[in-house]
Structures are given as structure tokens and as C-alpha cells.
Symmetry: C2
Subunit: 241 residues, 2 copies
Amino acid sequence: MSLGPPTKPPIPEPVTSELMEKHRLAVIGSLAGKIAHHMNNPLTLIRANVSELTRAMGETSDVERLREEQAEVLEEIQAGVQDLLRYVEAVGTFAQTDGEFETLDLNDLVDTALAVAFSKVRYAVDISVERPNGTVPIWGCAQQLLELIVSVLLHIDARPSEFGSCTINIHRIDSGALLRIADRRPSGPIAHVPDGSHHDQFDPELGLVLAHHVALAHDTRLRVTELDDGVVVYEVALHGR
Amino acid sequence: MSLGPPTKPPIPEPVTSELMEKHRLAVIGSLAGKIAHHMNNPLTLIRANVSELTRAMGETSDVERLREEQAEVLEEIQAGVQDLLRYVEAVGTFAQTDGEFETLDLNDLVDTALAVAFSKVRYAVDISVERPNGTVPIWGCAQQLLELIVSVLLHIDARPSEFGSCTINIHRIDSGALLRIADRRPSGPIAHVPDGSHHDQFDPELGLVLAHHVALAHDTRLRVTELDDGVVVYEVALHGR
């Protein structure tokens, strides 16, 4: 008896939570350096802005002018701090081990996953997000769904390709929400230089297998399709409560 | 033939760099959440200080007074940003995979290791560092030695004990430097409540084994001794160039 080629990705049975936990640690470990590096720039900018403010306060005798000239600097400092707070919170959420099923906002989840993966993925793709305003409520486990989205992003990152664009679409649908991530990069000659990514201790293919498993645990499927024009689409419909 | 009890810690042969890498990832993964949490406070303080500064600039018409009243706030902001930059740099250094033997400053190494481990260890011990001024040059691999120091700190953290003090001593000696970490906590009734540390995916005992291995790779030994008064001392002499 001969079996045809498998049409579905191999899902190890049972996928233990231990395996997912190990993969999550490997992802955090391999991203930690890049995340730290990525926080360096805004902090350096804040430091420069605060120095500039201190200098200006010391040199001016006209409060009116000081206020006017430094309004932008103050706003920039505050915006930088706010960004860092959001970033730190996202990493903290991703690093959490436990997670229960609850009502989540898909917009929030995508932002958190992007914060975690962006420091690495930005060198491979230019990511834009198209989304509805307000919250997009779904029912699921935040930690697992973050692992799904981050795994898809890192799978895209690992694909050898020229630099190009990637679109994340969030749609409200009757039963919940649709998440669609389209890797639109030209599948031309390989221009992606492996920049030490062989050091990474996590396995992008295992990540995708686990992403499939997360989808199943959410009573849905992650569909990965390659369109005729070479665009690769990762699509998952998530249920509402 | 009967063998006596082993007097030396078991060192798996060969300790692969893969095992060390896995342990490092597990350490980063299990600390990531605490590190993120630990960065939240200074960022929140900076945000509050910048708000206060903005308010004061908007309300005052007297530059002299503004300068005087806000000098401390500005210094606090700048000190907070500087601390965060040092912290982010330390995590980035620890997260690096590669490392060659070079001349290092033991004072620097201890600070980096403390930055990485402190967010977790602070709940178990009060750490003080006694050290000579200036640099304390030694010859070694920064990544490996960081793993040694962090592993010792996490080993102390994992020991069930009451809260107490831990002293890190750095001494210059003829052949290089001596690092001595003394866990001075009373070995009385166990008051350490396991606060979810069973979730940790890294193994403190494996960490100590790897620390021994790092010492051997640096042509020295890590000695762990329990003194009569219950103080546990971890000691390693590191060579100069």
C-alpha cells in the first residue's frame, strides 16, 4: 500500500505544553539580544532630549520662549517613554507562562506580538497593519495566540527572500475575527543573507507546527496558502465568545 | 568494590556548548518576565517626572524659580534613563551567543550579572558588593563567566531559606582576581515560599554544574563550601592575562 504525500503539516501527537514552553523560551532567548538592542535607541534619544532641555533651561531667561521651544522636546520625551512602557509590557506578557481562555482584543494581541518579534523581523520585511477601529473581541488564550502570531512572523522572517512588504489584516466577521498575514515579498533570487541566524536555537518550522496546534486548541485552523503570484498567506478565523 | 560518596559535583562529559546554550536560553526565558516587570517602575517614574516638569513649565513665569525647583527632577529623569540604558546593555550582553577569550573587567562582569539576575534574586537575598576601585582585569570569556556568576546567584536564589544577606567580594590577587560570593542567610526554618518558581524551566543544579565547567574552561575551580556557621561560600580565582 502506498500513501500519497502528506497534505497537512505534521502535528506531533501529543504536542505537550512542555514542547510549547521550550519553544517559547527559545524564541525569547533568541530575541532577547535584539529586543535589548532595539530599546537602546529610544533611551539614547530620551537622554539627548533631556540634556537639551536642561541646557535650554539653564540658558534662557524668557519662560515664554522656553515653553515654546521645548514643547516639542517634552512631547518627544513623553512619547518615547510611553513607547518603551508599551514595549516592556508586551515582552512581559509574552514571557508569562500561564494563560486561561478569556475574551481578548485581537488588535491588542497583534500589537503585542509585533512588539516582541519586530526587533528581528524588521530586517526581513516591512510590516503594515490594516485593522478596524476599536476592539476586536475574540475568545482564546493570550499566551497561546501570541505564540501563534509570533511563530508566523518568525516563519516569514526565516524564509529566504528579498526585502519586501508584509500585510497584517484584521477583520471582524460574524463568528469572531479573521487574522490574515500576507507575505508579499517577491520570490525572486535569494538575497537574504543569513546574518548569524544559524545561531538561533529555535526552529521556525517547529514554530509553525505549534501554531497549527494552537489553532486546533482554539477550535479552528491555520491555513497557509501560496497564491499564484507567489504571495504566501497565513489565515486563521478566531471565534468570539 | 564499594565507592565512597562523590565529593565533587558530577560534571557531564562532554559538557557540550549546546547544553550551555540551552541553559542560557532557559535562564533568559525564565527571567524575561521579571526583567520586563523590573523596567516598568523606572519608566513609570520618568513619565511622572516629565509630566511634573511640563506642568511646572506651563505654570511658572519665573525662570529662576523653575530652574531651581526642577533641577532635581531633571537629574532624576536623567539618572533613571542612564540606569535603564545600563540595564538594557547588560541584558543584551548576557543574551549574546558568541564570545572569545579577552581581557575583561571583573567589576564590570559582576555588575552585568547582577543586572540580569537581580530582578529575581532580590526577593531572596539582600546583595551587597565589596570591591576595589578601578578595573580588575582578568582573562576570560565574558559570556561564559556571566553564565557562571548568574548561575551561582540563581543557585542561591533557589535555596530554601529565610530572607537574608549575600555578600559579593572582589579582590585583586597576584595572579588575577578572586571572586567570593557568600550566602549569609540563616539556615533556620524554611520560610521561602515557592512562588511559582516550579514554573521555571531552568534547573539551578544544572546551572551549578555548568558553572563548574566554565571554571575548568578558565583553568581554575569553583569551590563551594559550607562554613560551620551555615554560611555558604562560592569562590573562584580567575587568572589575569
